[in-house]
Amino acid sequence: MNRIQNKILSLTGIVLFIMAAIWMTLTWYSRQTQEQYNEILQRYLRMNEVTGASQQTITDLNNYLIRPTPENLDQLEQSKERLRKAKYEVYALRNGDNDFDLTSYTNLIDSLLEAANRALMFQTQMENEESNAAFNEATRISRSISDMTLTLLDTELKTYDRFYRGIIERSTELNKLGIWLLATFTFLLLLFAYWFALSITRPVQKLTQAAKELSRGRFDQKIEVSSNDEIAFLAKMFERMRVNINNLITEIQQKAQLEHELQQNKLLLQESRYRSLQSQIHPHFLFNTLDTLSKKAYLEGAEETSDLLASVAGLLRYNLRRMDRSVTLYEEVRVLRQYMDIQSARFSDRLRFVEEIDESCLYVQIPGLTLQPIVENAVIHAVEPMEDGGAIVFRVADDGDRIRVEIADDGPGIPADKIAQLLRGSAQETEGHTTGIGIGNVVQRLRLFYGQDDVIDIGSRPGAGTKVVLRLPKVRRYEADDQRTDRG
């Protein structure tokens, strides 16, 4: 979770590492160069030392030969020792190029020492002439040594000429390298820092953009940040919040939808009630009158009329009572029969009513006054206008998990656009209906009641009759809806 910190640390680390590497390389390199210079100088100094030491030896020898005191002898021994040491040092400088000269050189030193010793020996033997000769020889050898030193230095310069030039060349190259390194390093660092800053600011920018979108109320755009630091975590959290808010909003919208539908349902019911109230101007007066008429007819021996009047009274009572609640299919069928009794009396032979009812299917719940408006519609359109009347077939059958209710007539049929209008529930046609409830109302109430659309279907062919099919689920999907309908 400390990725940004890590990034900064690693950047610093890399920079430090590169700088340290360059520094170490350059230090190492300058040390190497220093050592080379030292070595070269050492060579020259050692060769020069031989010359100095040999001359010193000659001087000391001369001093001693003139004044043979122990001090001078001591001095001479010292300078001889120095010369010997110089010889060994210079002998170590041998290589393939100067082997010959250097061997001669060291041999010359030996000869010089020998000659000096000889001079000393003759001096002690008091043979001055011989001693002088030896001294002269030593002097000559010393001079040769000086000459040879120059020759050797010259050889040395020749041998190492290219090497020295190489060193000079390299030091200028080194300066150039410094400048180039600085430029390259600066460039790379700038580039890296830019990239690094971008890797931090780009997710932040994305996040800002997303926040802006959210504040504008657009909750449907996915927030994606493809880094792996804290910003990404923040973005993930933000995304989760967005999804949650989005879900909440959707839920609220659904609820509002439901509310709206409920409202509509209520309106429909009120409308039905209003219509039924219109037709129940004086219900008790009407019931009492009808009862009285029924009794009177019965007393006068017109039993058929009495039954008819009782049916009308029952139908009207049902109509008033059952409008706003669910009833069983059985009750509906009973009311339907009463209605058909009345209609049969009205149309006598012209109306042929056929029932095929599976009694075991009548327990199912159904909104009140569903079947009667459909049948009434059939009577109005298929029987009333026909001179010969018509037949209405009513079937109730078990159809798997549903109950299939069919109301078929042999009337002139309904045009297709009219059917579509009915099924959409937008037809407001109530003419001639006893209860003031049209097919459209029935369709809508059925759909609301069962919570599904395919509960009703209307099939019709011009001239071949109409068939309304209800497929009622045995188990209602929304039990809660029922209660709500009850309360309303």
Partner: protein, 323 residues
């Protein structure tokens, strides 16, 4: 736009990195060590060839031959010496060579006491073998001599003279005052041939020192002997001055002039037709055999060396042979 910038940055970066690495390569590529030629085996002999006439064609050839032999036999050889017959410098070099305790010294003989003393005592006391080349000094206790048989060379030139001139005539023998052994040998050789021709008269001219002196002596001699027909310079170094003097007073062509090849001017003179013939020696062979004998002797392969000397080939080269 973005693409252009990225491309530009890429190009800049590549350029920078290229130059940086190129410079770094240049800096670090070079070997940080000074060039070390490995030491050769310590068993090698250190030989030195010392001459009085460095960088003359003759001695360059001797040096080349000696170098070749030394290299083939795995010995180191240095060429020291003086220029223009500077005998002091020459002797100094010889002394240094002795003091440097060379394993062997191959030297152009110089017939002086100083030289003899150095070779006889100094070199012997240091145990250094000395071989003379080209010019011999037999009484210097040198191990041996490698070079032309000077006596035979004198005879060869004399025979050629007789052939060219006929048995009658006056011949001037030019010699220097050094009485060097090789010069005496040559003169002996010439005399041994011409002595049997009574018609040939020999006159000697002795050059003392400088070139001017030679010219003066020549003038004197030619004034005294107008009938001279041929010249022989026993010392090649005198030839150029001699020819110049002859040329100053008359045409050179009618005179027969002979000399030896151990002076740098000889080939030029021969090519210009100013002299009629020279004795050509084999300098390369001298160097080769000299160095070879020295190494043989040091190795103990050939003990003792023939103190009479090892003679190399000599040829007579005439002016008409030269293109």
């Amino acid at each position: 736009m973005r693409k252009t910038i990225v491309l530009l940055l890429g190009v800049i970066g590549a350029t920078l990195i290229y130059f940086t690495s190129a410079t770094a390569y240049k800096v670090f590529r070079a070997d940080l060590r000074p060039p070390q030629t490995p030491l050769a085996q310590s068993a090698e002999y250190r030989l030195v060839l010392i001459t009085q006439e460095l960088e003359t064609p003759f001695w360059d050839k001797v040096a080349a031959g000696a170098r070749e032999a030394a290299e083939r036999r795995g010995a180191m050889l240095a060429v020291w010496g003086s220029y223009n017959n500077d005998s002091d410098e020459f002797l100094k070099k010889l002394e240094i060579a002795i003091h440097s305790r060379m394993d062997g010294i191959i030297v152009q003989g110089l017939d002086t006491d100083a030289f003899k003393e150095l070779v006889k005592y100094k070199a012997a006391s240091y145990g250094i073998p000395v071989i003379t080349v080209a010019n011999d000094v037999p009484d210097s206790l040198r191990r041996t001599y490698v070079g032309s048989d000077q006596f035979e060379a004198g005879r060869m030139i004399a025979r050629q003279l007789v052939e060219d001139m006929g048995p009658q005539g006056t011949v001037i023998l030019l010699r220097d005052s050094g009485n060097a052994y090789y010069q005496e040998q040559r003169l002996d050789g010439i005399r041994s041939v011409l002595g049997s021709y009574p018609g040939i008269e020999l006159r000697y001219a002795e050059a003392r020192g400088t070139r001017e002196q030679v010219i003066a002596d020549m003038q004197d001699l030619m004034n005294r002997s107008p009938d001279v027909q041929a010249f022989i310079a026993a010392n090649a170094n005198l030839t150029a001055a001699m020819v110049q003097e002859i040329g100053r007073r008359s045409r050179v062509q009618p005179y027969l002039i002979y000399s030896f090849d151990d002076s740098p001017d000889m080939l030029t003179l021969l090519r210009e037709g100013l002299i009629d013939g020279i004795i050509e020696q084999s300098p390369e062979e001298m160097g080769r055999i000299g160095a070879g004998l020295m190494i043989d002797w040091l190795n103990g392969d050939r003990l003792p060396l023939d103190s009479g000397g090892y003679h190399t080939e000599i040829r007579l080269r005439k002016a008409r042979d030269v293109p």
